[in-house]
């Protein structure tokens, strides 16, 4: 099983580490938008468990690398490794 993180912790991390970001709910995923750029693949979570669901940490690794969020910031909120 891949490592998972809580989606609410991802939003808290982005509040602190990527201020001004926008999250946009799509039919099958979240988009995270900042500075005119979009990360397309943040999962909604497993069907039926979408109140603060767990999502695979790899999607968040992709997200933090995409926006080049500093490890010193994101590691306060999510454990990705």
């Amino acid at each position: 099983m891949p490592r998972v993180v809580r989606l609410n912790d991802v939003w808290l991390m982005l509040d602190a580490c990527l201020p001004g970001y926008e999250r946009i709910k799509k039919p099958h995923r979240w988009n995270v938008k900042h500075g005119g750029r979009v990360y397309h693949e943040v999962p909604l979570g497993e069907h039926g468990k979408r109140t603060n669901p767990e999502i695979e940490a790899g999607h968040v690794r992709g997200l933090v690398k995409f926006f080049q969020i500093d490890v010193a910031c994101y590691s306060k909120f999510v454990n990705l490794h």
Binding site: V38, Y39, H40, E41, F66
Partner: protein
């Protein structure tokens, strides 16, 4: 995609991929041909492989092996194109959105992708049955209107090719 042998945890595979999709948009049918998109496959843990997009950079997918991770990445790529088609009111908007999506580089993983090349060049990293091609192979994406009279049953088959960059 099959591994030669169980690779060490952390092994990185720099990939180049070519995909073709035929999609329906708002009043248009299009073909999207991505050539030499870049992605990094990483064995993150036992039975856990991730493919991180470099171009396009805004996506990732995983599987229990490299082939499974790539298959999930391929599907996610198409799913995102479908999202973009939903959001675009005409062909020009869709074309611009696809170009932006594809060109937006994940610079964090791009650095890892480049660092992974020498191991492939030295023959220390390989994937059984997967050809190795130059890392600087030209990258492009083309979005073209598909005339309905030119649609054939072959359009139901995804064009999927992925190679190891060196």
């Amino acid at each position: 995609m099959t591994d030669n042998a169980p690779a060490a945890i952390g092994t990185q595979y720099p990939l180049l991929f070519t995909y073709r999709d035929t999609l329906f948009g708002n009043g248009f049918v299009v073909e999207v041909q991505a050539v030499n998109g870049r992605a990094l496959c990483v064995r993150e843990a036992e039975d856990e492989y991730w493919v991180y997009g470099i171009n396009p950079g805004g996506m990732a997918a995983h599987g229990v092996d490299a082939a499974g991770a790539h298959g999930a990445f391929r599907k996610a790529f198409t799913d995102i194109l479908v999202d973009l088609a939903h959001e675009s009111s005409n062909f020009d908007e869709f074309q611009a959105a696809v170009q932006t999506f594809f060109d937006d580089t994940n610079k964090g993983y791009e650095a890892d992708w480049k660092q992974a090349l020498p191991a492939v060049q030295r023959g220390e990293v390989s994937l059984e049955g997967i050809e190795t091609v130059p890392a600087n192979s030209p990258r492009s994406i083309a979005v073209t209107v598909k005339q309905v009279e030119l649609v054939t049953p072959q359009d139901n088959s995804a064009n999927v090719q992925y190679l190891l960059a060196a």
